[in-house]
């Protein structure tokens, strides 16, 4: 449907294309369903589970002792903003799995965070360098309102999949909806296919 009186704002072309329905954002908006979580690095830990078994647990110091990866990437939030050229540092899920001496099971992953947030992604989308636990944004410790001290980052999917205040990844055989997915958000969430809601 054409809105004849709508022409859009004349704006600078993005450095690279952005996904359909998105607009370019210079700032870094904060969107969370609840309060910013207060996470103490001294007691924080992160675990990887396969079904009911915990196969690895890392403290803050242990996470920082693992091989660190720098990532330059674009972010796409389902609330329509995209942010290009962001810089992150953290640990790939591959490095965590290698440290635990295991290979990623096929299937799906449920990410869980402080405050009760959860989100689901296929296993294939967190390995091969696609998923990281990040603790540094733009050279500075990740701020709490952006998910610090440690959040998940899976930048090729809408940002609600990159769970803030991450505490565990659980590998599961069958896909299950997480927090927003239960409210009708897409199970996969590919911004380039504009998979915002269930049947997109």
């Amino acid at each position: 449907m054409i809105n004849n009186k709508f022409f859009g704002r004349k704006r600078a072309e993005p450095a690279r294309p952005i996904p359909p329905g998105q607009y370019l954002e210079d700032g870094f908006p904060v969107l969370s369903a609840g309060p910013t979580q207060r996470v103490d690095k001294a007691t924080w830990n992160f675990s990887i589970e396969i079904g009911d078994d915990t196969v690895g647990t890392w403290t803050w110091d242990e996470l920082n002792a693992l091989p660190q990866t720098d990532l330059h990437t674009d972010l796409h939030c389902v609330t329509k903003w995209s942010k290009q050229d962001t810089d992150w540092r953290g640990v790939t899920i591959d490095a965590l799995l290698a440290n635990a001496g295991i290979e990623a099971p096929v299937g799906f992953v449920m990410a869980s965070s402080d405050g009760g947030y959860t989100t689901n992604v296929p296993s294939a989308d967190v390995i091969d360098g696609k998923g990281l636990l990040v603790h540094t944004y733009d050279g500075e410790p990740l701020e709490a309102e952006h998910g610090g001290p440690v959040r998940l980052l899976i930048p090729h999917l809408y940002l609600w999949k990159s769970a803030k205040w991450i505490r565990s990844l659980k590998f599961i055989d069958k896909d299950e909806p997480g927090f927003w997915e239960r409210y009708g958000y897409h199970m996969y969430g590919d911004p380039w296919r504009e998979q915002r809601y269930t049947n997109d």
Partner: protein, 253 residues
């Protein structure tokens, strides 16, 4: 959970336009199909320019979800954002009878229904009152009269959207406690009414208002700009409000 139909695009018709404040206009949109929603949900609007350029934004519903009110129409409140291509289109170009493409309802966490927790506290900054207005109207339309505390922060008297309706509801309902905090005006420049406070919402104001409720709220909703929501949520956590009883919706940067 949203049903399949909720994500289909619909073409709505603008049936009323109301200037609610210098920066906020209310649009009543007639929907082609009955679209049930819950108080607090939003719709996605999609504009398409003649050259094919598209822009999408989300707008919260301010009307009550009551079937009695009109199941096929919703009221959206649009705040004019500087440099906002969609909000400026609504404010400067949209006329009665115009068609608007939208889909929804969307969201489901920032919602309130009478079976939800009670009493309830709702704290809004600026246009953050919009989804909360839907909840307040919903509460007033049904028998539910669990205690409700609303603290609404606006810049000046002229920026208090829905003010007449809010004051009337509060005046006629002893279980509805309303506080309006004005951040950029003082008693000399604003009508001096008992529910006005001339300051930002701070921890002391929240603490005092909470102490006037007979029991602790089992749920608190906060909606507004990011820094507003962040500040209020932190005050509530400092006051011992349980983390999982606080639901937030953050607008804008």
């Amino acid at each position: 959970m949203n049903s399949a139909a909720t994500t289909d695009w619909q073409i709505a018709t603008v049936t009323s336009i109301h200037v609610e404040s210098p920066r906020v206009k209310l649009f009543t949109l007639e929907l082609p199909v009955n679209t049930p929603f819950r108080a607090g949900q939003h719709f996605d609007v999609r504009l398409t320019a003649p050259d094919g350029y598209k822009a999408q934004r989300s707008y919260s519903v301010s009307s009550s979800p009551e079937p009695a009110s009109n199941p096929t129409s919703i009221e959206l409140a649009v705040e004019l954002i500087s440099d906002g291509e969609v909000s400026s289109y609504f404010h400067e170009a949209v006329e009665l009878g115009d068609k608007i493409e939208l889909r929804g309802p969307i969201g489901g966490h920032f919602t309130w229904s009478p079976i939800a927790a009670k009493p309830v506290v709702m704290i809004a900054g600026g246009s953050g009152i919009v989804p909360i207005m839907s909840m307040i109207r919903h509460r007033s339309a049904i028998a539910e009269k669990a205690p409700l505390l609303v603290i609404f922060s606006a810049r000046t008297e002229a920026d208090i959207i829905f003010v007449t309706e809010l004051e009337s509801l509060a005046a006629n309902d002893p279980s509805f406690h309303l506080i309006i905090a004005l951040t950029r005006s003082d008693e000399a420049t604003s009508s001096n009414r008992p529910i006005r406070r001339f300051c930002r919402i701070d921890r002391a104001m929240i603490e005092s208002a909470l102490s006037n409720l007979a029991v602790l709220p089992s749920r608190t909703y906060i909606c507004g700009g990011s820094s507003f929501v962040e500040a209020i949520a932190n005050h509530l956590l400092d006051l011992g409000t349980p983390n999982n009883s606080i639901r937030t919706e953050r607008f804008g940067p």
